[in-house]
Amino acid sequence: MSHPIYIALIPLIPLACFFILGLFGRKYFSGSAGVIGTLSLLASTLLSLITAYEYFFVSGKSNGVFQKISVFKYTWLQFSPSLSIDMGILIDPITVMMLVVVTFVSLMVHLFSLGYMKGEPRFATYYGFLSLFTFSMLGLVLSSNIFQIYLFWELVGVSSFLLIGFYFEKPSAVAASKKAFIVTRFADLGFLIGILVLSFYSHTLDFGILIERLTNTGSPYLIAINSASFLGVSALTWALLLVFMGGAGKSAMFPLHIWLPDAMEGPTPVSALIHAATMVVAGVFLVARLFPVFALSDPEALQVVTYTGAFSAFFAAIIACTQTDIKRVLAYSTMSQIGYMMFALGVSKYSGEDGLGYMGSMFHLFTHAFFKSLLFLGAGSVIHMVHSNEMKDMGGLRKLMPITHICFLIACLAIAGIPPFSGFFSKEEILMAAFESNRLVYGIALFTSGLTAFYMFRLYYSIFWSKPADTHHAHHGEGTWTMKIPLMILAVLALFAGFTPIANWISADGAPIHSKVPITFSILPVALALGGILFATRLFITANELPGRIATQLGGIYKSALHKFYIDELYLFVTKKILFNLIGRPAAWFDKNIVDGFMNLLAKITGYLSDMIKGYQSGKVQDYALYFFGGVAGLVIAFIYLWK
């Protein structure tokens, strides 16, 4: 079936845009860069919508199941007869969904940035980087080859590095960008080795073949990779865990999450794009992409995914309750939501109705993209007005920025999982899946959803209520229409995205799922969410000393949560003390003094020798004659007495 080439255009348009803006932007398009970027992205958004329509309604399905369709394939780097990186495009439900999400959110962000970044000296560069990021993200979701995905994976990492470090004069921004890149790079190391293992045993890098070879029981490859084991764990498990490590790094799963909060140093729209909707879910996407292998051949690895996700969700939620920087709160909530998606995948099975978790995860990914980016953009316009990230500088803003206020509220309700907002539906699916397969995880998830509601509304109140607005913000105004329109669009989506029939489209095996969540099941989580909201209302709707008192009563727990459980400090210790002081410094010293010293020593020794023997050249002719004679004598001794 011929999916026309326009799919290839979806990533290529931003790429072209990047090159144009990157090379000539500074000179020629310093003003018009934003418009160019936005329009080009609009184009690819439309294209991806067309693709989605094509796939879901026209050509995607054959005999009731959505097919994996590889649109085209081009051999880019032939390692060996069997292994090669092919640049290809693979279309399946999740790809299509991701296409829509990425292009759409990115478009919103482009639009928003028109106002937000106005007057920035490196405006063109900014849009160039945005396009670069969009390109690599799209490339990532379209990849048909595990090495291709790794390639774009790295590109995504570097463009996020560039965007976080966009304000390069700010040392904190530079540090944050470095941190983000290095931590994810470390995770990618795992991914790379995982790829090496997989490719070695399955003799291919192509997703289709790889999955096919590693899933159907009795295939020689599967047997080989299962029989090979290291430290008592089968090679397959190792490979999948290592790949998951890469995913965990990008998706900020515990303990590789530390870069995400710092990444908030970047411009807020960037956070909305990268660290809410798109890049951070790459990990989820990766696991989903390899889901058949996980589900069919290696449940153990899937267990690890489950618990990592669940713990991260809970852990992040706790921390989120204590943070005072609004963007950090959002960051931790992101981490927590992604945790949801992860364990949803974890608890899912492959085929039929048991694939509920998979579907739920994807569904949540879909909805989360909208409300979370909405939250970030909202926060963006707040910061744009207040020029601060701290809660204490805010409060009572609902009068000053009504539109933002409403949108933000909608988003909060959505994330809290209050019907009929979009978050509700996806969360229900996930909880259902968890309930069916793993009660412990279900419990954690339930509690976490309560917490979520609580800290989101803590955030909401302390921005828009608590204390009367200090008036000197008033003259700022709420920002240009280019900033408001995206908010509104996203708000609408956050409201209604929940009604999209994802279940008919996305599932692990491609066949639609018909499970309905019973109303009775929804009561408990919704009740918890409401409870959280009420508690938050009690505490934060007006400024009072109650929160402080509770904090002091919680004492240690509160304190350690405030300090993010000292994970950063731990990392700092490892890098500074161990890598630098215990390995780097000795290595440098060793090189300077031992290795190089040895070379110099040789030279010195030669010098000493020549000084030692200089006496023989005494300048007395009689000595010379004597040595001459000695030479003769020596030869005589050597060759007459010692000979043979």
């Binding site: 200089k614 006496g615 050249q617 005494s618 300048g619 007395k620 002719v621 009689q622 004659a625 004597l626 004679f629």
Partner: protein, 104 residues
């Protein structure tokens, strides 16, 4: 009449040779050193003549050789003494110890 056996003559020449060498190593005076070298050369001459006389009486190579050696020794001595004289001009001494500026 009974004549001196060859090996005794060789003893003599070798003795002479080493005496000359010893003189060369030990005497400070350059002229004396030259004389010691003459001793060594003479021991060589004795060798030649003796070998010629005892081993190869029908040929005269050895004798001729010794004559040439004597001649050349003379020439050598002449040049050497000239040099020593010139050295004396600059050093005001013919003690070999004094002519040891260049070393190491």
């Amino acid at each position: 009449m009974n004549e001196i056996p060859l090996n005794q003559i060789l003893f003599l020449s070798i003795g002479l040779f080493f005496i000359g060498a010893y003189g060369l190593f030990t005497r400070r005076n350059m002229i004396t050193m030259l004389m010691s070298i003459e001793l060594m050369l003479n021991s060589v001459n004795i060798n030649f003549v003796a070998f010629n006389k005892y081993l190869y009486p029908d040929k005269l190579d050895g004798v001729f050789f010794s004559i040439f050696v004597i001649t050349i020794a003379a020439a050598e001595a002449a040049v050497a003494i000239a040099i020593i004289i010139n050295l004396y001009r600059s050093h005001h001494s013919i003690d070999v110890e004094d002519a040891g500026e260049m070393k190491y």
